[in-house]
Amino acid sequence: MNPLLSPSRPAAPKSAVKNGWAGRLALSLPYALGLLVLGLIAVDLGRTGSTVYVDANEMARTAAEATHPPASNVESPGISGGAVDPVCGMTVRPSSAEKAVFEGRTFHFCSSYCRTAFLEKPAEFAQAAHLPRASHTMRGLPTRMYQWALVLILILSFGVIELLGGDGKGPGPMSARWDLTAWAPLRRLLESNLFPFIPRVFTSVLFLVVIAAGLFGNQNPAMNIAPLLTWTVWWTGLIFAVLYLGKGWCTVCPWDALAGWAARFNSSLDLPWPKALRSIWPAVGLFLALTWVELGMGITLIPRATAWVALALLGMAVTCAFLFERKSFCRYACLVGRVSGLYALFSSVEIRAAKENCSGCGTLDCWKGNALGDGCPTFEYPRAMTLNTYCTMCAECFKTCPSGSMSLNLRPWAADLVVEGKPRADEAALALILLSMTAFHGLTMTPSWVALLEETRAATGLSFLSAFTGLMAAFLALPVLVYAALAAASAAWARVGFRDVALRFAYALLPIALFYHLAHNAEHFLMEGPRLLALVSDPFGWGWNLFGTARRAMPPLVTLEGLWRIQVLFVLVGHLYSLWITARTARRLAAGRGALAVQIPMLVAMVVFSWASLWLLKQPMDMRLSGM
């Protein structure tokens, strides 16, 4: 019988607490922001770039030819749909780009800044327009925008904090919830065995195709789907997904799916995970290792190495599935799960139990499992779970719970960050490392990084990899040291324990890290992501044309100016959330003037980190994909 048609177990009556207007506002804030960003993209897509005529006579001539617009000479050879900026070399969307007409040819620009540069010496740029380019550098935030954003951050940080945070005691609007599983079909889906089995089959097939493409496909990374899909779409899209879907990736994760199926085929030894490793330090180590190979070895540019990383992770997942009980790998060692798990504290969905309904339950089925499903695979006790960190949203607890207590809720962003949880050193460390590593990620794509690396090599005589490793360690330590110093100042000033301050406020840094991550990824996603369209038709780079899109180069989705607006918006939102969580955390640690004392050095830390984010966005970027 189709489990989707089977009657749902009755949902437990939930306490009918009405969400107040503030709660409803908090609930809708994520979607408002999402719509705003989509709106910015739509407006940018719809705009028509202005045209400047270098020669005044040109205008009259072109006006006469208005019915036959001059053909652009600078379209990329062999591909349709994009034009190349003659100044910076970026591929742009001709319709929305700024234009200039010179000697009968129309040139398209990424932004008015490049056009200004062009108008200064048009002949030179026009002549060089057809030459092959080694790479292109993308402009960063213009100075004016950068300064305005900085001023706003300062005003927000030191002018508005008193309005935020309430008394830090009651949950306030953050307790607002909207139970999606009150809708019976969704509940039935989550209780059925087809979820998450069916989506997992899809992702697993896709995963194997990507591995095959990486191993056997064309090793030119621009012609192989594996690097783009892995590093530009998946690894960056994952962070976007966390905002709205929480740990949705873990739900459909092909690594775990394949490992789980393998372990079902030949059941596990069910050894307990070693006590010494019962923390997320293994995952932190893997995350650092991946960042190192990703940037140091440049595997994002090597299809086969991309496949190797996927296979190595699959190997670890399968080995752990065979050896250890439940999904120890997901809980302790998986870097994807732990990074998205920490970010998921911020996300706008959660799976929780109705606690008032659980108090009478003696079965412990959600922990132990029963005939209908497994006990929580990541060693959570769903009945008492308060944080998203380790929940993979696999919905096993929906299947096992005899009384239908589990529910999938929408909630305001950052809801878990204001819950009084027990701060853990490993999680706090990962939060700091996320902050420094995402910033480092951005830094390595700027020309200043190349210069710094070369200078270091020249000064010390180290090889590329050792110089890279040394600098990576330094940039890993820098934010940690800054943060530790300010935490020490805060602890001394307010007479609170250093450990308490350092661990608790590390969580408050998460929104800044997350939104800088998003701002950085928006660049990859919006500017490089559209290339996926062509690669989908020829994933292996073997000259296929499955969907007829292989020869179409999608220009970036937005213009540079549109991108900058979105990036600044992200940084500001992240900073605002961090401020607000800082305020609440401070008030939980100390009362009255103590709260202010503990808060001020932390505010300085927030401003420093957001400033660093903006500075990084201001830098020009070497783009991964160009000139193709």
Binding site: P132, S267, V318, S626
Partner: protein, 519 residues
């Protein structure tokens, strides 16, 4: 003291296997000697695998030869070496020429006789010694010379490992007539279709072919400056051997030689009236059945009418505690044996006559490949030729550009510029050679390019005086990427190993628990 037979037998088998591995290198070495390339290559290849193998072969061939004064290698040692190398030609232990004595594998000559419906005198002459030996001594080839007789028992030792890993091991016995059916069918196919097929599945042929192709690929690649492990030499034949080995280990030990080998069938059929036999002393037999268990041909030496099946390996003689089984080793037999042991090597050269199935002796003189790319540009045809075609990183390579209008057959006489880029991931390009003009000789533009690393490159030709589009891009690969199958095999193998180990641990655990319960 009893004199055991197996050490002698193993010694002969090891010698044969060593010759199978060594002969291809000697063949290539002699080729380099003829071409007067050997000292130059030794110098150039240094301590790469190819260099070490060539040096080793050289050292081996020089054993006992006097070096000329002050170590200068002159004309005479080269001649002596050539004569010496010529004594070890071929592949198969009986498809070889050793000290001027030509030997041809019986199966090969029979099959080619069937397939061509004619008897070639060279093949017939080469087959005389093996034929006589088989008629007199029986399947002595199988028992004493064939490398499979050495390798399969070694591989079968994995059976205990399999049992330790709790994997099922079977002992299936097939019908011994299968091999005659296979031989007959192949003879029919050869006769009707003119198609020799048995060399695809005849293990000694596969092994020696692989040995030759290994040497060929290794040295060919070294000549092009590639020194990695030549994974490409593994062929379908190796996969077939692996499958046979797998069946031998897990399902039916000894099945190949006893029941399926077409060569074995031929030798069995010919050895019905052989002289060398195991003599039985029925009165001494104590029915311990040790010989039945030990016989690799799945016979019962004491009771069977063995017919031609016995391969005279002497295992039963060694194992018999009461000497009820014994070889009668006459002096003539021993002399014949010695002759055979010496007759190790190949009129593989003979096999090259009229398209007979030849066992892989590669006599072609390989040249370093040349790169040649052709492209149309306007009315002109542009030909880019590279020397060497497989350029080595760090070494100067030469590119010749010839631009010609084929309609009027006039060369393009204006400026031709060449730039070279290293293709970096995600479309980045790094210029490694600025635009420049080449040396022009008779309409040919010559450029020199040094590729710094193993990578993909693009050579861009610009003809600035030409109207319209004036650039051409030629892709080039310097060095080589490894095989992706290696990655797949590594991962798949690791996965299978993990699967097996976990399963074994679980079974052992369950058994221990059961034991504890019982106790």
């Amino acid at each position: 003291m009893m004199r055991l037979i197996w050490p002698r037998r193993r010694a002969v088998q090891v010698l044969v296997l060593a010759s199978i591995i060594l002969f291809p290198f000697i063949a290539r070495y002699s080729h380099y000697l003829w071409a007067r390339q050997e000292t130059k290559l030794l110098e150039r290849w240094g301590n790469s695998p190819a260099g070490l193998l060539l040096r080793g072969t050289d050292a081996l061939m020089r054993v006992g030869l006097p070096m000329e004064e002050s170590g200068v290698v002159g004309r005479r040692p080269r001649k002596a070496l050539l004569v010496r190398a010529d004594h070890f030609v071929g592949s198969l232990p009986w498809s070889a020429r050793l000290f001027g004595l030509s030997l041809t594998d019986l199966l090969a000559s029979a099959e080619s006789a069937f397939a061509t419906r004619s008897l070639v005198s060279v093949l017939a002459a080469g087959a005389i010694i093996p034929l006589l030996a088989t008629l007199l001594l029986g399947r002595v080839y199988c028992g004493w010379i064939c490398p499979i007789g050495l390798l399969m028992p070694l591989i079968r030792r994995l059976r205990s490992a399999l049992a330790f890993l709790e994997l099922p091991v079977h002992d299936v016995r097939f019908w011994k007539g299968n091999k005659y059916a296979l031989l007959g069918a192949a003879a029919l196919i050869g006769l009707i279709g003119g198609l020799p097929i048995l060399h695809y599945i005849y293990p000694p042929a596969i092994l020696s072919r692989e040995a030759h192709s290994f040497a060929t690929i290794l040295f060919d690649r070294a000549e092009s400056g590639l020194f990695g492990f030549p994974w490409g030499f593994f062929s379908g034949g190796m996969i077939f051997l692996a499958v046979v080995a797998l069946v031998e280990v897990a399902v039916a030990p000894g099945f190949w030689c006893a029941t399926l080998c077409p060569g074995g069938a031929l030798y069995s059929a010919l050895s019905r009236w052989r002289l060398l036999r195991v003599k039985r002393t029925k009165s001494a037999c104590i029915d311990c059945v040790l010989c039945d268990k030990a016989c690799p041909m799945q016979l019962q030496p004491m009771t069977d009418k063995t017919g031609g099946e016995c391969d005279s390996c002497g295992v039963c003689v060694d194992v018999c505690p009461t000497k009820a089984l014994a070889f009668k080793f006459s002096r003539t037999d021993a002399a014949l044996m010695a002759l055979l042991c010496l007759g190790l090597a190949a009129p593989a050269r003979a096999h090259h006559i009229i398209g007979l199935p030849h066992y892989a002796y590669d006599e072609s003189f390989p040249q370093a490949p040349v790169l040649r790319l052709r492209e149309k540009l306007g009315p002109y045809e542009v030909i880019l030729t590279g020397y060497p075609g497989n350029p080595k990183p760090g070494e100067k390579s030469e590119l010749h550009v010839y631009v010609n209008d084929p309609a009027t057959n006039t060369p393009y006489e204006q400026q031709v510029l060449l730039e070279a880029y290293r293709m970096k991931p995600f479309g980045f390009q790094e210029k490694i050679a600025d635009a420049r003009e080449g040396l022009v000789e008779m309409g040919l533009h010559k450029f020199h390019v040094v590729y710094p690393t193993v990578a993909n490159y693009e050579v861009v030709l610009v003809l600035p005086e030409l109207d319209g589009s004036s650039t051409l891009r030629f892709p080039l690969v310097v060095g080589e990427p490894g095989s992706p199958w290696r990655d797949v095999a590594l991962f798949g193998g690791g996965f299978l190993a993990l699967l097996v180990v976990v399963r074994a641990v679980k079974i052992k655990r369950a058994r221990a628990a059961l034991k504890e319960k019982a106790a």
